[in-house]
């Protein structure tokens, strides 16, 4: 048999079949069958008629959206200042923002829990706020880095050109820097928003007993309702697909830049 470059792809194809396509098919099977193995749309209609599940979906979206906005508001100025400063210690500062990621996640959240308890007295008073704080803290580096990377790579002469053409500092920022850092914002947002919808561990650890999508799926499976759980997982997958399509089309022209912005 002749060895071709294509055969190098075989391990990947096998991996894809075993761990992506296979599980997806299993997921589809369970989502559209009932306990007797008959085809049904029941799981789907159940999800969209039950106020509890819909409420969870809404709550997840809210937590994720607020977290994303918080992250963005904190990250953009930070990334911008870091990227445009002439500091020689720039890389050290970036490192300081990334370093928390090297510390065990549950340890960080436990520490945060202690601090919040110290301030609020009892975590139960502000479950939503606490969850958002926890998630923002957890996801911040994922937002800072892509934005920093896009701004740092911005051609400085573009901003000079804007000023040369009569734009003052503010307008040069609004008309050139900001639009050109959109790819970084988009990848930052998709790296924060999607995980934030499912990361129920933060909520659990901060004693927020409200379900989000992640915990909802978990609860179905621990109650041996594989069919309902699969359907919810599938709906979440569909949501993610739609979200990705929207953000992708938003920055289609800068796809090259975006690839670079992704870590």
């Amino acid at each position: 048999m002749k060895f071709s470059r294509k055969s190098l792809g075989i391990p990947y194809a096998v991996f894809l079949l075993l761990f992506v396509v296979g599980p997806l098919l299993v997921l589809f099977y369970y989502a559209f069958t009932n306990g007797e193995g008959h085809f049904t749309l029941r799981n789907l209609t159940d999800f969209f008629t039950d106020p509890n599940t819909l409420g969870t979906l809404f709550y997840s979206l809210l937590v994720a959206a607020v977290t994303t906005v918080f992250c963005l508001l904190l990250s953009y100025p930070t990334a911008y200042i870091l990227a445009t400063s002439k500091l020689k210690t720039k890389s050290v500062l970036i490192m300081l923002f990334v370093m928390p990621m090297w510390i065990n996640f549950s340890l960080r959240i436990t520490a945060l829990k202690e601090i919040l308890t110290l301030i609020e007295g009892n975590l139960a008073y502000y479950p939503f706020l606490n969850s958002v704080i926890g998630m923002t803290y957890d996801f911040l580096p994922f937002m800072i880095l892509p934005i920093y990377n896009t701004i740092v790579r911005l051609d400085g002469s573009l901003i000079e050109a804007a000023k040369d053409l009569g734009a003052n500092d503010t307008r040069a920022f609004l008309k050139v820097t900001l639009p050109l850092s959109v790819p970084g914002i988009v990848s930052g947002v998709s790296m924060v928003f999607l995980p934030a919808m499912t990361n129920y561990v933060v909520l659990d650890m901060l004693y927020n007993s409200t379900y989000i999508m992640g915990s909802l799926i978990g609860s179905y499976f621990s109650a041996y309702n594989w069919h309902g759980g699969s359907m919810i997982a599938l709906i979440l997958l569909a949501l993610i697909c739609i979200f990705t399509l929207i953000t992708d089309s938003g920055s289609a022209e800068d796809s090259g830049v975006r690839g670079g912005a992704l870590l």
Binding site: D155, A161, L165, G166, A167, N168, R171, K175, V176
Partner: protein
């Protein structure tokens, strides 16, 4: 009508935080409508000067007067000056129309006027109908045109162009040179153009400013610069030339390359000179008809002519000729008086400050100079503690005395072995000019001072060398 200066640069200096002076003592007047070119090798400060005119960099000292008013402190967006950037700097997130309209939008021009003006500009740069194209679909040459249109649409008083043709291929570049020149003639806007390409400068400019190491070397018309270079650097940088050291031997008579030539520059007898002879002014003749004679050492065919190198004794002369010669043949060389440009030789003596250390010994760059201080400082002697006593019998305070050493370029030797014991200091070669029988090098040393060194061998730019300076060749003077 009196021609008025549109922009004047007065004593402009730009020193960076690390102490590096990019531009020093820059004085220039530009008349309305002129095409001025800043020409020099990379790192000569030409782009920095342009950036100060644009407002991206602030001068450390000096004034920039636009129509008589100092603009050196006002931000770029308030200056009626626009720039064409080296790599175009077109906004990638805008189409061609939006790019060109950007400046007008900042000025809150109404939509109809913007449309009309952008259309006119696109016609000017031959890109009609490109309004909705995106930047990335354009070729380099087209992007360059958009960049020019984007600057010109604002009707600036001065258009700055920072090596705008550097990224284009040769043919495109030559086309754009002509187009830029005709654009300049039609619009009457003052152009300030930066380039390192001497041919480009000679082709396009009304006035050329030759720069090197942050200083203006010469300002003049292309003809002036080419025919009457002020110093060896200009002569070497603009076109090819034979640059030979010599001496005036009589009225309008100069001796160089082993012959005496009549010339048109009236310089007193006995003056050390540098003669510049363009290769096209070197006439090859039969051996007995030449003012000097030499042996042909190389012949290179250059299409329109042959480049012929002739060795005359120690000196080399390069000639351009339409007729070829045989390598090894003896030929005569004639140069007509107006083909010789005489410059008074630059005094290249290297001066440097040396220290007296606590032990009352001379020291330079951490090396003790083994020389007798009592001979340098008049009337001094050493006491029993080996301390130096001056003529009034007092011990000399090393901090209160300054000793300057001088050494001629030819007395310094360069070596590869920078760790050798007799190396006084090390540096890198930052410039070299061939002077007919030797090379004249500028060495940027570790101490920040430049040294001029003459050497008959060819070293490379950027070479790291050690300088050997024999102490018996140094002359010392004492300054209190």
């Amino acid at each position: 009508m009196e021609e008025k200066n549109i922009i004047e640069l007065k004593n402009i200096t730009k020193t960076y935080e690390d102490g590096f002076t990019a531009v020093g003592d820059f004085n220039l007047e530009v008349k309305r409508g002129e095409f001025v070119t800043f020409l020099g090798p990379s790192g000569c400060g030409k782009t920095t000067t342009l950036r100060m005119i644009a407002g991206f960099d602030l001068p450390s000292s000096g004034e920039i007067l636009l129509n008589g008013k100092d603009i050196s402190k006002i931000p770029p967006y308030e200056r009626p000056i626009n720039t064409v950037f080296q790599r175009y700097a077109l906004f990638p997130h805008m189409n061609i129309f939006e790019n060109i309209a950007f400046g007008l939008k900042q000025k809150k021009t109404d939509k109809e006027t913007i449309k009309k003006k952008v259309k006119k500009m696109l016609e000017l740069v031959d890109l009609e109908g490109f309004e909705n194209r995106s930047v990335s679909t354009l070729s380099g040459g087209q992007q360059q045109r958009v960049a020019i249109a984007r600057a010109l649409v604002n009707e600036p008083e001065i258009l700055l162009l920072d090596e705008p043709l550097g990224a284009l291929d040769l043919k495109m570049r030559q086309e754009m040179q002509l187009e830029l020149k005709s654009m300049h003639d039609r619009l009457g806007i003052t152009f300030i153009y930066v380039t390192h390409d001497q041919e480009e400068a000679l082709t396009m400019s009304d006035k050329i400013v030759v720069m090197n190491e942050g200083r203006i070397q010469q300002v003049g018309t292309p003809e002036d610069i080419y025919n009457e270079p002020k110093n060896a650097f200009v002569a070497d940088f603009i076109g090819e030339s034979n640059i030979i050291n010599g001496i005036m031997t009589g009225p309008l008579k100069a001796r160089f390359s082993g012959g005496v030539f009549e010339c048109v520059d009236d310089i007193p007898e006995g003056t050390q000179i540098t003669a510049v002879v363009r290769p096209e002014d070197v006439i090859l003749t039969a051996p007995e008809q030449g003012q000097i004679r030499g042996k042909v050492t190389s012949v290179i065919f250059k299409g329109m002519h042959y480049e012929i190198t002739v060795q005359c004794g120690r000196y080399e002369m390069v000639a351009k000729s339409t007729k070829t010669q045989q390598i090894g043949d003896t030929v005569g060389i004639r140069v007509e008086p107006d083909g010789i440009h005489i410059m008074i030789a630059e005094n290249n003596t290297n001066f440097f400050a040396v220290d007296m250390n606590r032990n009352h010994r001379l020291e330079y760059n951490g090396n003790v100079l083994d020389t007798s201080l009592t001979k340098i400082i008049k009337g001094s002697h050493r006491n029993e503690n080996k301390e130096l006593i001056d003529e009034n019998g007092e011990v000399i305070d090393p901090d209160k005395i300054r000793i300057v050493a001088a050494i001629e370029p030819a007395d310094i030797t360069m070596t590869d072995d920078t760790d050798a014991e007799n190396v006084l200091l090390t540096g890198t070669i930052s410039s070299l000019i061939y002077k007919g029988d030797h090379y004249s090098y500028v060495i940027q040393t570790e101490l920040g001072q430049d040294f001029i060194v003459d050497d008959e061998y060819l070293w490379n730019m950027g070479d790291m060398v050690g300088l050997i300076m024999p102490i018996n060749k140094m002359r010392f003077t004492v300054k209190k």
